[in-house]
Protein backbone atom coordinates (compact mmCIF):
# COMPACT_ATOMS: atom_id res chain seq x y z
CA UNK A 1 0.00 0.00 0.00
CA UNK A 2 1.20 3.46 -0.91
CA UNK A 3 1.41 6.12 1.80
CA UNK A 4 -1.03 8.43 -0.02
CA UNK A 5 -3.60 5.64 -0.26
CA UNK A 6 -3.16 5.10 3.47
CA UNK A 7 -3.72 8.79 4.21
CA UNK A 8 -6.99 8.95 2.30
CA UNK A 9 -8.21 5.64 3.67
CA UNK A 10 -7.59 6.82 7.22
CA UNK A 11 -9.89 9.80 6.73
CA UNK A 12 -12.55 7.50 5.32
CA UNK A 13 -12.49 5.42 8.47
CA UNK A 14 -15.28 6.47 10.80
CA UNK A 15 -13.31 5.36 13.82
CA UNK A 16 -9.57 5.90 13.94
CA UNK A 17 -9.18 3.28 16.62
CA UNK A 18 -10.75 0.60 14.44
CA UNK A 19 -8.87 0.62 11.19
CA UNK A 20 -9.04 -2.08 8.54
CA UNK A 21 -6.33 -4.74 8.92
CA UNK A 22 -4.48 -3.71 5.74
CA UNK A 23 -4.24 -0.13 7.03
CA UNK A 24 -2.93 -1.26 10.39
CA UNK A 25 -0.42 -3.45 8.63
CA UNK A 26 0.87 -0.50 6.61
CA UNK A 27 1.08 1.68 9.74
CA UNK A 28 3.10 -1.02 11.46
CA UNK A 29 5.60 -1.07 8.62
CA UNK A 30 5.76 2.64 7.80
CA UNK A 31 7.24 5.05 10.32
CA UNK A 32 5.79 8.08 8.58
CA UNK A 33 2.21 6.77 8.43
CA UNK A 34 2.26 5.40 11.96
CA UNK A 35 3.27 8.90 13.14
CA UNK A 36 0.48 10.44 11.09
CA UNK A 37 -2.09 8.03 12.45
CA UNK A 38 -0.94 8.59 16.01
CA UNK A 39 -1.19 12.36 15.54
CA UNK A 40 -4.70 12.17 14.04
CA UNK A 41 -5.78 9.99 16.95
CA UNK A 42 -4.22 12.34 19.51
CA UNK A 43 -5.77 15.43 17.93
CA UNK A 44 -9.26 13.89 17.71
CA UNK A 45 -9.07 12.53 21.26
CA UNK A 46 -7.92 15.82 22.74
CA UNK A 47 -10.39 17.85 20.67
CA UNK A 48 -13.26 15.70 21.94
CA UNK A 49 -12.11 16.30 25.49
CA UNK A 50 -12.25 20.09 25.18
CA UNK A 51 -14.57 21.32 27.87
CA UNK A 52 -17.96 22.66 26.94
CA UNK A 53 -18.24 26.38 27.39
CA UNK A 54 -20.79 28.64 29.04
CA UNK A 55 -22.37 31.20 26.65
CA UNK A 56 -20.53 34.52 26.80
CA UNK A 57 -23.74 36.30 27.85
CA UNK A 58 -26.88 35.08 29.53
CA UNK A 59 -29.22 34.19 26.70
CA UNK A 60 -32.24 33.08 28.65
CA UNK A 61 -33.70 36.57 29.23
CA UNK A 62 -33.77 37.32 25.51
CA UNK A 63 -35.06 33.86 24.61
CA UNK A 64 -37.87 34.12 27.15
CA UNK A 65 -38.84 37.61 26.00
CA UNK A 66 -39.02 36.45 22.39
CA UNK A 67 -41.04 33.34 23.28
CA UNK A 68 -43.48 35.53 25.19
CA UNK A 69 -43.83 37.85 22.21
CA UNK A 70 -44.59 34.85 20.05
CA UNK A 71 -47.09 33.54 22.59
CA UNK A 72 -45.20 30.29 22.96
CA UNK A 73 -44.94 30.48 26.69
CA UNK A 74 -47.61 31.46 29.11
CA UNK A 75 -46.92 34.78 30.76
CA UNK A 76 -47.97 34.15 34.29
CA UNK A 77 -49.06 36.96 36.51
CA UNK A 78 -48.64 36.46 40.20
CA UNK A 79 -52.03 36.01 41.94
CA UNK A 80 -51.60 39.31 43.79
CA UNK A 81 -50.86 41.14 40.57
CA UNK A 82 -53.80 39.44 38.89
CA UNK A 83 -56.12 40.42 41.72
CA UNK A 84 -54.78 43.95 41.54
CA UNK A 85 -55.56 44.05 37.83
CA UNK A 86 -58.87 42.24 38.23
CA UNK A 87 -57.65 39.32 36.11
CA UNK A 88 -59.24 35.93 36.63
CA UNK A 89 -56.59 33.23 36.85
CA UNK A 90 -57.10 31.35 33.58
CA UNK A 91 -53.69 29.75 33.53
CA UNK A 92 -55.09 26.69 35.29
CA UNK A 93 -57.64 26.23 32.50
CA UNK A 94 -55.24 26.94 29.68
CA UNK A 95 -52.17 25.10 30.86
CA UNK A 96 -52.50 21.61 32.22
CA UNK A 97 -50.23 21.28 35.18
CA UNK A 98 -47.18 19.15 34.50
CA UNK A 99 -47.87 15.61 35.58
CA UNK A 100 -46.57 14.79 38.99
CA UNK A 101 -44.09 12.00 39.15
CA UNK A 102 -45.25 9.34 41.53
CA UNK A 103 -42.67 9.14 44.21
CA UNK A 104 -41.68 5.83 45.67
CA UNK A 105 -42.92 5.17 49.19
CA UNK A 106 -40.45 6.38 51.72
CA UNK A 107 -38.34 3.65 53.12
CA UNK A 108 -38.28 5.19 56.52
Amino acid sequence: MECNVFEIAVSESADLSQLRPELLQHAQQCFRCSGLLEDFQTIARKARKLASVEPARDLWGDIRAQLEREGLIQTELRPAAQAARGVRDRSADAVPAPRLVHSAPRSR
Binding site: E12, F40, A44, K49, S52, A56, L59, Q74
Partner: protein, 191 residues
Amino acid sequence: MAIDAAKQGDPQAFEFLYHLHKRRVYSLCLRMTGNTAEADDLAQEAFLQLFRKIATFRGESAFSTWLHRLAVNVVLMHLRRKGLPEVSLEETTEPTQEDGPRRDIGASDQTLVGSVDRVNIERAIERLPPGYRTIFVLHDMEGYEHNEIAEMMGCSIGNSKSQLHKARMKLRDLLQLAQSQGARAQGNSQA
Protein backbone atom coordinates in the same frame (compact mmCIF):
# COMPACT_ATOMS: atom_id res chain seq x y z
CA MET B 1 -41.14 15.43 32.26
CA ALA B 2 -39.72 18.79 31.21
CA ILE B 3 -40.25 18.16 27.47
CA ASP B 4 -43.96 17.43 27.96
CA ALA B 5 -44.34 20.48 30.16
CA ALA B 6 -42.52 22.65 27.61
CA LYS B 7 -44.90 21.38 24.91
CA GLN B 8 -47.66 22.85 27.08
CA GLY B 9 -45.90 26.22 27.21
CA ASP B 10 -44.58 25.95 30.75
CA PRO B 11 -41.87 28.65 31.09
CA GLN B 12 -40.07 26.80 33.85
CA ALA B 13 -39.74 23.74 31.66
CA PHE B 14 -38.29 25.87 28.86
CA GLU B 15 -35.82 27.42 31.27
CA PHE B 16 -34.87 24.03 32.66
CA LEU B 17 -34.21 22.67 29.15
CA TYR B 18 -32.22 25.76 28.25
CA HIS B 19 -29.92 25.45 31.27
CA LEU B 20 -29.56 21.71 30.79
CA HIS B 21 -28.37 22.02 27.19
CA LYS B 22 -26.92 25.53 26.88
CA ARG B 23 -23.26 24.58 27.29
CA ARG B 24 -23.34 21.85 24.69
CA VAL B 25 -25.25 23.93 22.16
CA TYR B 26 -23.11 27.01 22.73
CA SER B 27 -19.86 25.05 22.52
CA LEU B 28 -20.93 23.55 19.22
CA CYS B 29 -21.78 27.02 17.84
CA LEU B 30 -18.51 28.45 19.13
CA ARG B 31 -16.37 25.69 17.66
CA MET B 32 -18.10 25.82 14.33
CA THR B 33 -17.82 29.61 14.01
CA GLY B 34 -14.74 30.44 16.09
CA ASN B 35 -16.47 33.63 17.23
CA THR B 36 -18.11 34.23 20.63
CA ALA B 37 -20.59 36.90 19.52
CA GLU B 38 -21.79 34.80 16.59
CA ALA B 39 -21.94 31.75 18.83
CA ASP B 40 -24.17 33.61 21.31
CA ASP B 41 -26.58 34.67 18.58
CA LEU B 42 -26.64 31.22 17.00
CA ALA B 43 -27.17 29.41 20.29
CA GLN B 44 -30.05 31.77 21.01
CA GLU B 45 -31.52 31.11 17.57
CA ALA B 46 -31.12 27.35 18.04
CA PHE B 47 -33.05 27.46 21.32
CA LEU B 48 -35.76 29.65 19.81
CA GLN B 49 -36.18 27.18 16.95
CA LEU B 50 -36.18 24.34 19.44
CA PHE B 51 -38.98 25.87 21.47
CA ARG B 52 -40.95 26.75 18.35
CA LYS B 53 -40.72 23.17 17.14
CA ILE B 54 -40.85 21.31 20.44
CA ALA B 55 -44.48 20.32 19.91
CA THR B 56 -43.36 18.28 16.90
CA PHE B 57 -40.78 16.32 18.89
CA ARG B 58 -42.06 12.76 18.94
CA GLY B 59 -39.19 11.08 20.67
CA GLU B 60 -37.98 8.95 17.72
CA SER B 61 -34.45 10.08 18.58
CA ALA B 62 -33.04 11.25 21.88
CA PHE B 63 -33.99 14.83 22.64
CA SER B 64 -30.34 15.93 22.87
CA THR B 65 -29.60 14.39 19.46
CA TRP B 66 -32.58 16.20 17.97
CA LEU B 67 -31.54 19.51 19.52
CA HIS B 68 -27.96 19.03 18.44
CA ARG B 69 -28.91 18.39 14.85
CA LEU B 70 -31.11 21.47 14.92
CA ALA B 71 -28.22 23.58 16.25
CA VAL B 72 -25.89 22.27 13.53
CA ASN B 73 -28.45 23.27 10.91
CA VAL B 74 -28.77 26.76 12.40
CA VAL B 75 -24.98 27.24 12.18
CA LEU B 76 -24.79 25.83 8.65
CA MET B 77 -27.59 28.16 7.51
CA HIS B 78 -25.70 31.06 9.06
CA LEU B 79 -22.46 30.14 7.31
CA ARG B 80 -24.36 29.83 4.04
CA ARG B 81 -25.95 33.26 4.50
CA LYS B 82 -22.56 34.75 5.31
CA GLY B 83 -21.32 33.32 2.06
CA LEU B 84 -18.59 31.34 3.75
CA PRO B 85 -17.77 28.20 1.86
CA GLU B 86 -18.94 25.28 3.96
CA VAL B 87 -16.59 23.17 1.97
CA SER B 88 -13.34 24.75 1.00
CA LEU B 89 -13.08 26.49 -2.34
CA GLU B 90 -9.65 24.93 -2.61
CA GLU B 91 -11.49 21.72 -3.29
CA THR B 92 -12.02 22.71 -6.89
CA THR B 93 -8.36 23.38 -7.55
CA GLU B 94 -6.67 20.82 -5.40
CA PRO B 95 -5.72 17.32 -6.27
CA THR B 96 -8.44 14.76 -5.88
CA GLN B 97 -8.19 11.36 -4.30
CA GLU B 98 -6.68 9.95 -7.48
CA ASP B 99 -3.86 12.48 -7.29
CA GLY B 100 -3.12 11.58 -3.72
CA PRO B 101 -3.36 13.93 -0.76
CA ARG B 102 -1.89 17.37 -0.99
CA ARG B 103 1.17 17.98 1.14
CA ASP B 104 1.48 21.45 2.52
CA ILE B 105 4.80 23.01 1.71
CA GLY B 106 6.92 22.86 4.79
CA ALA B 107 4.73 20.27 6.49
CA SER B 108 7.01 18.00 8.35
CA ASP B 109 6.67 14.36 9.12
CA GLN B 110 7.72 14.96 12.68
CA THR B 111 5.05 13.63 15.04
CA LEU B 112 3.37 15.55 17.82
CA VAL B 113 4.29 12.94 20.43
CA GLY B 114 1.22 13.51 22.55
CA SER B 115 2.45 16.86 23.86
CA VAL B 116 -0.47 18.82 22.43
CA ASP B 117 -2.15 20.94 25.05
CA ARG B 118 -5.73 22.14 25.29
CA VAL B 119 -4.96 25.79 24.50
CA ASN B 120 -3.05 24.93 21.35
CA ILE B 121 -5.81 22.61 20.16
CA GLU B 122 -8.46 25.31 20.76
CA ARG B 123 -6.35 27.84 18.87
CA ALA B 124 -5.56 25.53 16.00
CA ILE B 125 -9.24 24.63 15.50
CA GLU B 126 -10.08 28.35 15.53
CA ARG B 127 -7.47 29.01 12.87
CA LEU B 128 -8.76 26.35 10.48
CA PRO B 129 -10.44 27.72 7.35
CA PRO B 130 -14.24 27.65 7.95
CA GLY B 131 -14.92 24.75 5.59
CA TYR B 132 -12.28 22.54 7.18
CA ARG B 133 -13.34 23.54 10.68
CA THR B 134 -16.96 22.61 10.06
CA ILE B 135 -16.10 19.11 8.87
CA PHE B 136 -13.55 18.52 11.61
CA VAL B 137 -15.93 19.64 14.36
CA LEU B 138 -18.81 17.59 12.99
CA HIS B 139 -16.82 14.42 12.37
CA ASP B 140 -13.99 14.23 14.86
CA MET B 141 -15.56 16.13 17.74
CA GLU B 142 -19.29 15.58 17.42
CA GLY B 143 -19.21 12.09 15.99
CA TYR B 144 -21.25 12.60 12.82
CA GLU B 145 -20.54 10.20 9.98
CA HIS B 146 -19.60 11.25 6.46
CA ASN B 147 -23.01 10.38 5.03
CA GLU B 148 -24.75 12.52 7.65
CA ILE B 149 -22.34 15.42 7.07
CA ALA B 150 -22.78 15.17 3.31
CA GLU B 151 -26.55 15.30 3.76
CA MET B 152 -26.44 18.27 6.14
CA MET B 153 -23.97 20.22 4.05
CA GLY B 154 -25.32 19.29 0.66
CA CYS B 155 -22.01 17.93 -0.58
CA SER B 156 -20.85 14.50 -1.67
CA ILE B 157 -19.57 11.90 0.78
CA GLY B 158 -16.26 11.91 -1.08
CA ASN B 159 -16.01 15.65 -0.59
CA SER B 160 -16.67 15.30 3.13
CA LYS B 161 -13.92 12.66 3.38
CA SER B 162 -11.33 14.66 1.49
CA GLN B 163 -12.16 17.83 3.43
CA LEU B 164 -11.73 15.94 6.68
CA HIS B 165 -8.38 14.68 5.55
CA LYS B 166 -7.23 18.18 4.67
CA ALA B 167 -8.60 19.56 7.93
CA ARG B 168 -6.65 16.99 9.94
CA MET B 169 -3.46 17.65 7.97
CA LYS B 170 -3.88 21.39 8.42
CA LEU B 171 -4.51 20.97 12.15
CA ARG B 172 -1.45 18.82 12.47
CA ASP B 173 0.64 21.44 10.66
CA LEU B 174 -0.72 24.21 12.89
CA LEU B 175 0.05 22.19 16.00
CA GLN B 176 3.54 21.32 14.79
CA LEU B 177 4.13 25.00 14.13
CA ALA B 178 2.87 25.94 17.61
CA GLN B 179 5.10 23.27 19.08
CA SER B 180 8.22 24.44 17.29
CA GLN B 181 7.47 28.07 18.17
CA GLY B 182 7.01 27.05 21.81
CA ALA B 183 10.30 25.18 21.77
CA ARG B 184 12.08 28.17 20.19
CA ALA B 185 10.61 30.58 22.77
CA GLN B 186 11.74 28.26 25.54
CA GLY B 187 15.22 28.07 24.01
CA ASN B 188 15.44 31.87 23.84
CA SER B 189 14.37 32.29 27.45
CA GLN B 190 17.01 29.81 28.59
CA ALA B 191 19.76 31.48 26.52
